[in-house]
Symmetry: C2
């Protein structure tokens, strides 16, 4: 047997052909007419991890699109590492904006163009190939390993909130590595240390039983839009803080080190302003734009509506007005508790002449923050430093990846993001591509990472 690196080198042409096969499956989770393709992708993955030498390979039903599980558990005394990724992809329309068809992968220079090339098929194939190289070259893995690949990430993993707590024995592990991620640039690595959570409510304000004539009733009957705008305007202070009592109580304050790490990540305010075409930034006083996005909770009205929205004039006094509100939450806020605070606060407001009701929205994600000394992230940082020759940025995301908080809450395992996507790779857009150099670099990086975790 040679080294895992010899094995990788010898097998690159086959691996590349397999990548193209995988990319040809239009496993679009959002479109029900592609459900059979998502199933086909699961079967492809199951066969591929079997060929790699993994055991107990299973395609498991979730109630929605399936997941693929496999393990290799012959490293007693070593940690158990679970590798996560997803084999479903975003819809590909508009098709006419693609240079080559989204499910007929085409290589141009160092890049393979196809829907899912970067997000996440190219990235999730990488650790499978690394595991094969380790098993075929050394006959064993340096750690106990589990694969957990899902088919519904692009629609928000709706069934995993039930599936994971029901399969905690199967999925038990010490840490998770997620292939569904990327680096800052070709020269600059990153370590993902935080995600925001979220929750939401809808406000419904009702006045009269039907729309009224604003001449005949205006001034005597309360306008539900006035009531709603009063409620909403009162949810923020002029300095951008959320005024809901208790909203910030569980927020972990930013340490000097946190702020320093965030400040180290470049932010070109002028370029960002120009690209968004906003007259300026605005957010909570006392924080930089990055800190606001990465480390502070927010409350946003996502939509508001009531009365007449057409062309011209209709002098109506509307019967109803509505708003949808979602919050982004940071550690250690609890989405269920925040929903209660919102409902309490809004319901307690007394506005004459209307009834106000507040109900929770189906959006509840826990915030996620990795401790500095979490072993997975520590090793990921070391290896990225070795590969790139520079210290990684410590990055958070303002968005939510529900599966990371699910792993943490139900398995007690943190997730280290270890993927090689780059920002320019048009994920979720036409002409998505993945760099073949990243495909190759990732395979070695995963081998090194698993070896290091097994020490």
């Amino acid at each position: 047997m040679g080294t895992w690196n010899d094995y990788l080198e010898q097998n690159q042409p086959r691996f590349f052909a397999e990548l193209l096969d995988f990319l040809r499956i239009p496993s679009i989770s959002a479109l029900s007419e592609h459900a059979a393709d998502v199933q086909r992708a699961a079967e492809w993955v199951a066969a591929r991890v079997t060929a790699a030498g993994m055991e107990h390979v299973q395609i498991l039903a979730t109630g929605g699109h399936p997941v693929v599980y496999a393990d290799w558990l012959h490293a007693p005394g070593k940690p158990t590492v679970m590798i996560y990724g997803h084999f479903d992809v975003q819809p590909a329309d508009p098709y006419d904006l693609w240079t080559s068809p989204p499910f007929a992968p085409e290589v141009r220079e160092d890049r393979v163009y196809a829907r899912g090339a970067s997000d996440d098929k190219g990235n999730m194939l990488v650790p499978i190939l690394a595991v094969e190289a380790l098993l075929k070259s050394q006959g064993a893995l340096p750690v106990n390993l589990k694969f957990f690949f899902e088919g519904q990430e692009e629609i928000g993993s709706p069934q995993l909130g039930d599936f994971i707590p029901k399969h905690t024995d199967l999925l038990a592990c010490d840490m998770v590595l997620s292939s569904d991620g990327g680096q800052w640039s070709e020269e600059q690595p990153l370590v993902l240390v935080g995600l925001r959570g979220g929750c939401g409510v809808q406000i419904d304000v009702k006045a009269a039983k039907a729309d009224l004539h604003s001449g005949m009733y205006g001034g005597m009957v309360q306008n539900p839009i006035h009531a709603l705008t009063t409620i909403i305007a009162g949810l923020h202070a002029a300095d951008g803080r959320v005024t809901v009592p208790g909203f910030y109580d569980q927020v972990r304050p930013l340490s000097a080190q946190d702020r320093e790490r965030i400040a180290q990540v470049p932010f070109d305010a002028a370029a960002e302003k120009a690209s968004l075409e906003v007259p300026g930034f605005f957010g909570e006083a006392g924080y930089t734009p990055r800190e606001r996005i990465w480390a502070r909770p927010t409350l946003e009205v996502n939509g508001i509506w009531g009365g007449f929205q057409g062309e011209g004039v209709k002098t109506v006094l509307p019967s109803e007005a509505h708003a949808k509100i979602t919050c982004r939450l940071v550690a250690d806020q609890n989405p269920t508790q925040i929903v209660e605070l919102l409902i309490d606060h809004i319901s307690r407001q007394v506005i004459p002449g209307v009834t106000v009701s507040v109900k929770p929205l189906a959006f509840r994600a826990y915030p996620y923050l990795v401790p500095e000394d979490e072993p997975g992230n520590v090793v990921v940082r070391e290896i990225l430093h070795e590969i790139y020759g520079v210290e990684p940025f410590y990055v958070r995301s303002g968005g939510s990846i529900p599966v990371c908080s699910l792993f943490q809450r139900h398995l007690g395992a943190y997730t280290a993001s270890f993927g090689f996507a780059l920002d320019d790779e048009n994920i979720h857009s036409p002409d998505e591509f993945f760099r073949l150099s990243s495909f190759r670099k990732g395979q070695s990086a995963y081998c090194t990472l698993l070896e290091r975790l097994g020490r």
Copy 2:
């Protein structure tokens, strides 16, 4: 020759048949496929006023539906009275809610059922018949008389704002009598002494060039819905007053007599609340519900929209938010000036991170208030008192009738409402009807009124 009353008595069967003919014309001004029917109704009216003995009968183009003019000007030294009404009608759908078809008039008991029976064909035919009775029985009228009947009242008389100032010589008169009105009940007459005016603006708030992901940008980019709700919430104080500087400057205060007259008109708050299904009334502090509607200006948001309005959750940070606002105005507010105050006030607000623009809406009506001693109204009050045996209520309307302010501003003539519709006659609804007793009573009332005005 007999008396006008003899003439009326002898001709009731013919008048009734003519009313049915008039009602058979589906002169729906809002539907372009009925434009020829509106024209046909104009021709019917022109022929009918000619038959009544009027002179200089003309169908005049307005750029939209036509108007019918006629006069009889042989009473030197007597006042010139112009009688107003409209021969267009509201749409009649839903047709299946009508007991008999809307344009196949049917008499049931004392009522004729048809679209336009009460609003305004039955009522506008009344003065034509009265004038015929006076001319045929006496050979002359007690005053100089003009008829001005329009075909676009139900769509807001859009062309009259141009037409009336261009025809001030033709339409010159000392007072206007409007057939387009009603009484409080079968036992209780009313004198209409005020109408509210109106104006409006649209507010458009813009943040980023496109909708953003609330996770990636929420907290850093201003939410245009937050900005808009802050602006709107600030337009009213908690006590219901409008906060726009100068808004109330030209408002004529309510005198003790005004308040007394308004208080004399019954208002059953509990019944009204139950019928509107509102939890309570709300309006400007210091005024009764009636005073707020009849004699105080208001500012109402007629519609608001921005962001996501669908089912479920979409965590979007919207790019835009919009609101349509109209005001109801009272004497002596000027709609053009109020629009300027609104634009000034809203534009002056500084909200970081968004651009706010405010533009006028195509709604501009002057408020209208008849002086106590206006001769037309004084005589109308006397005659109503004689007919009904009780003092009329002095009533205002919270709505706007643009043509009344046009007559006042361009002809210097006040309008006395002298019609016999009643509130239960389903105007603008299925099964509209007019009482044949009102049809007959109105003819005598108009003869008496014209005689009295000629004294």
